[in-house]
Structures are given as structure tokens and as C-alpha cells.
Symmetry: C2
Subunit: 215 residues, 2 copies
């Protein structure tokens, strides 16, 4: 009875027709993913977590691939947000901005390891889906633009600048992936440092990955 009245108070939609089930399912799916990992992710688990019949997700997403695709696309938005967030509180020069972007990349991965792996290493989402490929391209374009601001040339026409794009991407990605694999902190004394010191090490590594030619 208490539960019922609470439901009524907190949400007029908590009835037979949920009203906001799609968003609820996405949120439940993210928790499911974080707790079980991509390998053990299941639609039934998501439905259970959302407190809904196991057949309900099909109405909104068709199958697990559809759900995971939207989840990954949504992940890219927050992936970019994490980078923007770091950039806002960093110095305005082009190199500091690139380093900040890389730190945001690592922030996102360590905060959402399973989601990060879903976005970059899983076969389950449909990478050719518009929502997903568009979101992923947006993130890539930001990197290209960061490099252009450092080099002063367009990576799409300057091969040397595109090499810098690859280098910056690979270094941020490598640090992020090794971090969530638990490899860096154990072997490299990284865990003996404060978060600020860690950031400084990462920023140093990121910046040096870019050729040292002045703008």
C-alpha cells in the first residue's frame, strides 16, 4: 500500500502503461552492463532490473542488438561530454586542450569500463546504425579538430597531421584500455601517486605523442 501510494506520488506514469519505459530500460541496461559485463548481458536481466515483463524490451528495441546500439550511441555522447568537461577547466592553448581531451577520454573509460568496451571492442552493437556511427564520428571529428588547432593544417589533407591524429588517439586509447584492464596501476607505480599526479603523467605522455613542430 505504501509502495503503491509512493508510486502514485513520484510518478503518474507508474501504471500499466509505464510511460517512460524506454528511458528506464536504457538506464537498467547500463546498470546490467556495468555489473554483468558485455559477455553476460541479457534482455531478461534488463527487464527484471526495470521491474517489467521480460517481453517488454522487444516493444522498444526489437532485440538485444537494438538496445546495445542505443546504449553505445548514448555512451558516445557522454564520452564527448567527459572530454569537454576536462577542456573547460584547462588552459586554452591547443596542446593543453588536446591533453585535456585525452584525460576526459581516460576519465570516461575508468568510470564506465563496460560501456567503454561495448563502444570500442564489442561485436554486439550494430556499428553501421546511423545513431551509432554518427555519434562515433562526432568524437573522431573533435580529435581531428584538436590536432588541427595544434598543427595549423587540416589532417584530411596533411598526412603528417593525420599521423598525429592516430598517435594522439592511440595513446589516449591505450592508456584508457590498459587502465581498465588493471595493468598500469600494478606494474608502473601509478597507484602510488595522487590522482593529480596521475593526470600530470598522462598529460605528459599524451602531449609528447604529438610531433614537436611548432604551430
Amino acid at each position: 500500500m505504501i509502495e503503491l501510494s509512493t508510486k502514485r506520488k513520484t510518478s503518474r506514469n507508474a501504471r500499466y502503461h509505464h510511460g517512460d519505459l524506454k528511458r528506464t530500460l536504457l538506464s537498467a541496461a547500463e546498470t546490467e552492463l556495468a555489473e554483468k559485463g558485455v559477455e553476460a548481458f541479457s534482455l531478461r536481466g534488463v527487464a527484471k532490473r526495470a521491474g517489467v515483463s521480460h517481453a517488454a524490451p522487444a516493444h522498444h528495441f526489437g532485440d538485444a542488438c537494438g538496445l546495445l546500439t542505443e546504449l553505445a550511441a548514448n555512451g558516445y555522447e557522454r564520452f564527448i561530454e567527459a572530454q569537454v568537461c576536462r577542456q573547460k577547466s584547462a588552459p586554452g592553448d591547443a596542446r593543453s586542450q588536446l591533453a585535456a581531451s585525452g584525460l576526459g577520454y581516460i576519465d570516461f573509460a575508468t568510470a564506465n569500463p563496460a560501456l567503454f568496451r561495448l563502444m570500442f571492442a564489442s561485436e554486439r552493437p550494430d556499428k553501421s546504425a546511423d545513431v551509432l556511427s554518427r555519434a562515433a564520428n562526432l568524437a573522431f571529428d573533435r580529435l581531428v579538430s584538436d590536432i588541427q588547432n595544434i598543427k595549423g593544417t587540416d589532417p584530411y589533407t596533411d598526412q603528417s597531421a593525420m599521423t598525429d591524429v592516430m598517435s594522439a588517439w592511440a595513446i589516449a586509447h591505450g592508456l584508457a584500455d590498459l587502465m581498465i584492464a588493471g595493468r598500469l596501476d600494478r606494474a608502473t607505480f601509478l597507484r602510488d601517486r595522487t590522482p593529480a599526479e596521475q593526470d600530470a603523467v598522462f598529460a605528459d605522455i599524451i602531449v609528447r605523442a604529438i610531433g614537436s613542430q611548432p604551430q
Copy 2:
């Protein structure tokens, strides 16, 4: 009948007692892994592929975790071999040797993407198992030694050198992981280049990730 006599000819052990089933299972498991991916890997699939009862693998590995752990450990051996192979045909100076090691890292990943992911990104193998952690540490020690040859100091006592270790590892790992995710070739014109040109780009990126101080 033909099959039977063939069996007799090709292997005296192809009888009730297989004789070499453990090795056969490992080989079948690798194929299974490569074709199905870590997510869909199953013991029954391996047994079927090896032409053996589905309960047989338990005799040798206990469960899927045991099999995958040995598979990963075996993977590290070949991972190191791929790096040694590149180093043998590279110039002897310390920087070229490091670059060669990185190229071997990428070679292995692109040749065995699922196995690489099993080794670096899966929760299924038992990372605390002796065979596995020892094999992984061996690979790490090789990298540490490569850096020591460049810097002239021991990374375990010189923080700046350990930063180089992290940097070199991250760049090779990032390139490798992005390659097998199919990200680099599409976006960065890498596929327009010959394999030798790709190697040159990668080697350039790897070497520049190391601080430029002379030995």
C-alpha cells in the same frame, strides 16, 4: 572404412584413448575463439570441433575458465615470439628494437584479434593463475628492458624511465586495439598505404612516444 584406415595411418593414437587430446583441445579452442569470439565461446563447441564427447574437456581443464587460462598463457608465448621475430630483422640500435617490438605487438593483435582480446580485455581467464601471470610478466619485462636499453637507467628506480614504459606500452596497445576494432584504417587513410608504409607510420609513432633524451 576409408576414414578408419586413414585414421590408423595418420595417427596411431586416434583410438578410444586419443593420446594427445589436450593439445588437440587447445587448438580447437583457439579456432572456436577466433570464429565465435570470447562472448560466444563454449566448451561444447570446442568438444564438437575436436570431434570428441562434450564431457571430455573437463578431464583436462576442469571448466571453460581453465581452458581459456591455458589458451591465454599460450597466447602470451606467441605474443612474445611475434615481437622477437620483428626484432631479429630490425637494426640493432635500441630505438629500432623498441619500434620492432611494438610492430610485433600489433602483428600479433591483428593476426589473432580474439585471442588478443582474451588476453587483455576478458574477465574469463583466471589472471591470478601462475601460468598466466608469469607469461604476462615476461612480456612486460621485455618492454622494461627495451626501455632500459634506450634510457640507460632502470625503470624500476627511475620514474622518468617508467613513464616511458607506460608511454610505449600504451601507444603499441592503443594502435593494436584500434586496428582490430577497425577504427584506424577507415578514418585515417591507413588502408591506402602498403603494409611497409603502414609499418613506417606505426614505427614513427612508437618511437616518438619515448622522450627524446639521448642515451
